[in-house]
């Protein structure tokens, strides 16, 4: 295996006007690249870039990447429904929304990601997964791995070790999948469990599955070995050299426009704002002065913003003017704890300086913010 580091070569076959003869014209059939970055946003941006700019007619691409801890939701999913956002924030685990469909996955350095880029016509997921299975079996013949018709890879007919998703554009397509080598299963199961109750939505739901690391089956396996085995198999099937070219997703000269793509993937509008419309119908149990108040809350959230908000408070618990100010402020603002905190604390500045009122207000608002 030869790892080649790229320097000043404009080698990417893309729609850019590259006057020099590039070495891609000598490599035929396929190209294997690996990211030097562990940042989920940068790596997703590379996928976008290749999808938008590379001409895959002559040459297919295999992209290998790994991420530091992150939860990645599918294009049409609801993060509140899919994961424990509070835990994510606490543990500083990133949240990303990818452009392909499918369900939610947890990434860390013990998980490897493979993206198969082809033209739209040559899009074929089963073939790709069979390639992965073949590579695994070549590495460890005793492994009981097979591909299901749901495009999962199962170990011992029971444990899911790989999930799949795909994105199709006008002329190109990509199919990517995960592969659990040595991921932290404890963190995985705790972050992928949402405590949210009373959420109704048409977002794509994830199908929970029993997972296992390949490392548990065979402790001699490492992520590097798996990456190498898969690259070797890909090289063989595409009749190319077994070279893995390293790319740096921060390199703007190599990948012009990549920093914009990376930025876009991190915006609130993309990660949260692309959530399909959903509604919340829940009950806040607020403990106030030795009694428990049951407060029903109903909200409609569209594009990540509160469209409609109804809080069923006991009469006169808050002055009616203040209640309507609260609802007015929340309507149209992001379903986001930070923004809501700013708004409600501002409103507190404008109402009478009454300790009782302030403590009621804080109690209600803190409960509301906990939902987000």
């Amino acid at each position: 295996m030869v790892l080649q580091s790229l320097k000043n070569c404009l080698w990417l076959p893309c729609v850019l006007r590259t006057p020099k003869a590039c070495f891609w014209s000598t490599a035929s059939g396929g190209l294997i690249i690996q990211s030097v970055s562990n940042d989920v946003y940068q790596n997703l941006a590379v996928e976008d870039w290749i999808h938008d700019h590379m001409d895959l007619e002559k040459q297919q691409v295999l992209f290998l990447w790994r991420n530091s801890p992150a939860v990645v939701i599918g294009r049409h999913q609801n993060p509140w429904q899919e994961c424990n956002l509070k835990l994510l924030r606490q543990k500083n685990i990133k949240l990303a929304r990818r452009r392909s469909g499918g369900g939610t996955v947890y990434h860390d350095l013990g998980n490897i990601n493979l993206t198969f880029f082809t033209t739209r016509k040559k899009y074929e997921r089963m073939e790709n997964l069979k390639l992965v299975v073949k590579a695994l079996k070549a590495l460890r013949p005793q492994l009981d791995v097979h591909v299901t018709d749901r495009y999962d890879i199962l170990l011992d007919r029971k444990y899911k070790i790989s999930g799949t998703a795909a994105k199709l554009g006008r002329t190109s397509a990509y199919h990517h999948c995960t592969l659990l080598c040595n991921a932290d299963k404890f963190v995985l199961s705790s972050v992928l469990k949402s405590p949210f109750k009373g959420l109704k939505s048409n977002a794509t739901p994830s199908v929970p599955a029993l997972v296992k690391n390949l490392f548990e089956e065979d402790p001699s396996l490492t992520s590097e070995m798996l990456l190498d085995a898969i690259a070797k198999e890909y090289a063989m099937q595409h009749q190319i050299d077994h070279h893995i070219t390293l790319i740096n997703p921060a390199d703007e000269t190599l990948l012009p426009g990549i920093s914009n793509k990376t930025k876009e993937l991190q915006t609130w509008e993309w990660v949260y704002g692309k959530t399909p419309k959903f509604s919340i119908s829940t009950c806040l149990n607020m403990v106030y002065k030795d009694s428990v108040l049951d407060v029903k809350v109903n909200m409609d959230v569209k594009h990540g913003r509160i469209e409609v908000c109804n809080i069923d408070l006991p009469e006169q618990w808050l002055p009616p003017g203040l209640y309507s100010e609260l609802v007015k402020s929340l309507t149209g603002s992001k379903f986001c704890p930070n923004e809501t905190t700013t708004l409600v604390t501002t409103l507190l500045r404008l109402c009478p300086q009454d300790d009782e009122l302030h403590s009621r207000w804080r109690l209600l608002c803190e409960n509301m913010i906990r939902l987000m």
Binding site: G102, K167, N202, K274, P276, S333, T341
Partner: protein
Amino acid sequence: VCIHRVRSCSSVRFIKSKYVCVFDKSALKFSHQQRLFRTSAVSCGQIVQFKLSDIGEGITEVTVKEWYIKEGDSVSQFDSICEVQSDKASVTITSRYDGIIRKLHYSIDDIAFVGKPLVDIEIDASKGVASEEDVVETPPMSHEEHTHQEIKGHKTLATPAVRRLAMENNIKLSEVVGTGKDNRILKEDILNYLAKQTGAILPPSPKAEIVPPQRRAEAVPAAPKDKARKIPVPAPRPIAFAGKDKTEPVTGFQKAMVKTMSAALKIPHFGYSDEIDLTQLVQLREELKPLAEMRGVKLSFMPFFIKAASLGLLQYPILNASLDENCQNVTYKASHNIGVAMDTEQGLIVPNVKNVQVCSVFDIAVELNRLQSLGSAGQLGTSDLTGGTFTLSNIGTIGGTYAKPVILPPEVAIGALGKIQVLPRFNSKGEVVKAQIMNVSWSADHRIIDGATMARFSNLWKSYLENPASMLLDLK
């Protein structure tokens, strides 16, 4: 004369444009027909049903997840129309035609079928019915040109209208720089190319129009002297500026600011500014910084400013008070909860350090560190953001000297600190020395605070900072 057909779908919608007509024989069967007389000779558009093309892998149905366009929008070929999902695959459907969207056949979350119509697009009849194939091939060129294309390995993307324009002007698309999406060649690119070839006068780019003012200034004085010669006045050329106004609703942090500042308007502000010599404080901080770092805390100037303010408030408690709504009562707050204005990515927030009157400078530094890291992570809690009684805004970290800060209700005073500059000043011996100078600008509520009080408070605060050792005497 054109026949205007009233749609039979449940949401009856009149097509707004006057020049639409439908070559649909079934329209004649309708009893409701209106004849619209047109004065302009515009060709009728043809409504084409854009069918959902094959997804691959034998998939026959998909779920519509997001529309990128709505009825009435105009689209160009290759623009994204919608996003559909099928079995873990998300597919972007792009338009095959240029035209106007007339009907969406599905709503969000509906099941759409491959081979069935997805949208109706009205295309310009003069262009003819677009072929079913994606128009990606280059127009007929010499064989040499064609191989040149292949070597480059890129496809020239251009709509049929653009290709026609190129062909009519004998332009090779391969020589035109495309500035559209996916490096697509747009009509403007052809026009620019033409301009360069023929030297035709086209609306110049905005950059070219910015004539350096100096040149004009030099030209003008010459004119009065020489009346015989006329200076040619440049003819006003139309500046092509493609920018558009953008309107968006005020939400989030901006909304909070609007509310706060509108309430602050009711407070009659007066300002008081002064200059502080921080030479000794700068030196002190240099000595203490490593000590704080050993304890894992970053020490800035703010903890000193905050503590000095609290010591001052002990002598002038009216500055730490609150006036009720009817201006009937003044409440002197016991706690000095000093707010620190923070600039985050989302906007301005003002968390406060609680009970500064019982905190040491180091305690304040620790708390500031905590608030700053929470603030930048967007994780400040409600208790951090409420209960403030007095505020300091260190705008000097960004820049500036004097400011006119706005009081944050229900407080009655606020101070804005400018940047620390090294300036020459006279010392007691009359010599010019280097001094570290910072300006402070106070604003106070003139309903209950008078200028003298503010001035005395400021002097006290200034004296603590100019001679930090004096703080030791009054520290609690």
